[in-house]
């Protein structure tokens, strides 16, 4: 038997009884980051494959949402900071060992890229659009000559953005549930999948919907495969990792994770999309919204569960769960 107690008392706000340093802001940002990464990746990828007329929603319409999504994500990040007036310190240094520093600089690059990329398509989507300022119009026309280079840059940086949202968490050795390299690919695939779902949601072309249903089905399958590997990895690891996995296998996160993320967010939309691909008529909005919802829940649950998994003072959990 081993009984442990903090007899001097310790209830540091945000740390005890279980860590809750990050609440809604970080998972919302990780979700929007992944979604934007997915949308921009598909837009750039299919642009390079000259599918502008076949996939108009993916290449031209969806990217127009990305600067706004990123802006909301950045606002959430800013709101999360507790020493807000010093946020500019992020951009006075580059710290190679800190994923958060990488992320801050990636955002610094991909945010303007998303604005420029969207500007290329504004006139295609809104034919009567007038930029009003000749300088802006000229600049966009000038940059549009290098569209292919922008597309390649977007592919690279959207992949980095999608991966980094997972790596940010997996770099924390102190939180066993986050400390798995599978989180990088899992969040990347989830981001691509929510991106595809968003395109499905706004697309009006039968051919485009069909292709993105196929893509999404494949991505959901990959996600399920990665989630199974995530738990296999934990269960074959140390006691703290096994304990972390057990939070999802009978513990406090079991119900929310398996119903909201795996059930409603992955299996149900995958089943509906397969039915659809086989010719059954289902409103496409249902699987698309479910995938978007499942992605959001995945970020919230992973961020929360990671903070509940720990090396020391496990007895503190009894005060909550």
């Amino acid at each position: 038997m081993n009984e442990i107690a903090i007899t001097s008392g310790r209830m540091n706000q945000g740390v005890d009884p279980v860590l809750h340093a990050w609440t809604w802001e970080i998972p919302l940002y990780l979700y929007l980051g992944g979604l934007v990464a997915g949308i921009l990746f598909f837009s750039a990828f299919f642009y390079l494959r000259h599918r502008e007329n076949v996939f108009p929603a993916a290449i031209k319409i969806a990217p127009l949402f990305t600067p706004f999504m990123l802006a909301i994500g950045l606002l959430a990040l800013f709101l999360d900071l507790t020493h807000k007036l010093y946020f500019w310190r992020l951009y006075t240094t580059i710290r190679w060992e800190s994923p958060m520093s990488w992320g801050a600089w990636t955002l610094m690059i991909i945010f303007p890229l998303s604005i420029i990329w969207s500007a290329f398509w504004v006139k295609d989507v809104f034919p009567r659009w007038d930029w009003k300022i000749p300088f802006v119009e000229k600049s966009i026309d000038f940059l549009a000559r290098y569209k292919a280079y922008f597309a390649w840059a977007l592919i690279a940086f959207s992949a980095i953005l999608g991966m980094y949202t997972g790596i940010l968490l997996s770099a924390f050795n102190a939180r066993p549930f986050w400390n798995t390299s599978i989180l990088g690919p899992l969040f990347l695939v989830s981001g691509l999948s929510t991106g595809a779902a968003f395109i499905l949601l706004i697309s009006r072309s039968e051919q485009e919907r069909h292709r993105f249903s196929q893509i999404d089905t494949f991505l959901i399958g990959t996600e399920i495969f990665l989630i199974i590997h995530l738990f296999m990895g934990f269960l074959a690891s140390t006691s703290v990792h096994i304990h972390a996995a057990e939070m999802f296998l009978g513990g406090p996160y079991t119900a929310v994770f398996w119903t909201l993320v795996v059930g409603l967010g992955l299996l149900v939309p995958m089943f509906i999309e397969i039915m659809e691909l086989r010719g059954v008529k289902v409103p496409v909005v249902i699987p698309a919204v479910l995938v978007l919802f499942g992605g959001l829940m995945l970020r919230f649950i992973v961020v929360d569960a990671g903070q509940s998994s720990r090396w020391l003072y496990k007895f503190m959990e009894q005060l909550i769960f």
């Binding site: 860590l19 807000k84 770099a171």
Partner: protein, 177 residues
């Protein structure tokens, strides 16, 4: 120079004087603490063993908090002491999440705070406040690179451990067994 602390679990009675001294010396805001007392009971009645530890930031050699800090606010000071530069801290809380000892917290003024090994006292040649007040002389602070320091001698002659060495952080607060 490598500052470290050794806490004699055979002498510590868990009086929490160190906790109070730290809060007074460092103006730790109410409701927070930079150090705390852990009592661990091992075994089954009647063969029980009690281990009492005064715990704090371990000023690790390979500190995950320094590695993950995006601005460099968390850094190594002289003697390997891990400190937070308030003017560089943005309050992203990555260091709090990265610490397996949960030794950090957000100060009500916004920056991240934790044990400093009372570096302001150490620079004046004094002991950290917690060490200074310990009524049973259970705590030793000193330089590991100095073979003749009290802490080096204690660690040479006594069996000792660190907390969760398996987390790979190379902690520098030792517990004499």
């Amino acid at each position: 120079m490598r500052y470290a602390m050794a806490i004699d679990t055979k002498r510590c009675v868990g009086c929490a004087d160190c906790v109070v001294a730290c809060q007074t010396e460092n103006n730790v805001p109410e409701g927070f603490c930079r150090d705390w007392i852990v009592e661990e009971t091992i075994g089954a009645f009647p063969e029980l063993q009690l281990e009492i530890r005064s715990e704090r930031c371990n000023h690790c050699d390979d500190s995950p908090c320094v590695r993950c800090c995006p601005t460099g606010a968390s850094h190594y000071e002289e003697g390997g002491v891990v400190l937070v530069n308030h003017d560089e801290c943005i309050g992203c809380k990555a260091c709090i999440a990265s610490c397996p000892y949960d030794a950090r917290f957000v100060h009500p003024e916004g920056y991240v705070d934790k044990c400093t090994f009372c570096i302001h006292r150490v620079r004046e040649g004094k002991n950290p406040a917690c060490v200074e007040v310990c009524p049973t002389h259970a705590m030793i602070f000193g330089d590991l690179d100095d073979r003749n320091s009290e802490i080096s001698k204690a660690l040479r002659t006594r069996k000792h451990k660190t907390l969760i060495p398996e987390a790979g952080t190379d902690p520098h607060v030792f517990y004499l067994l």
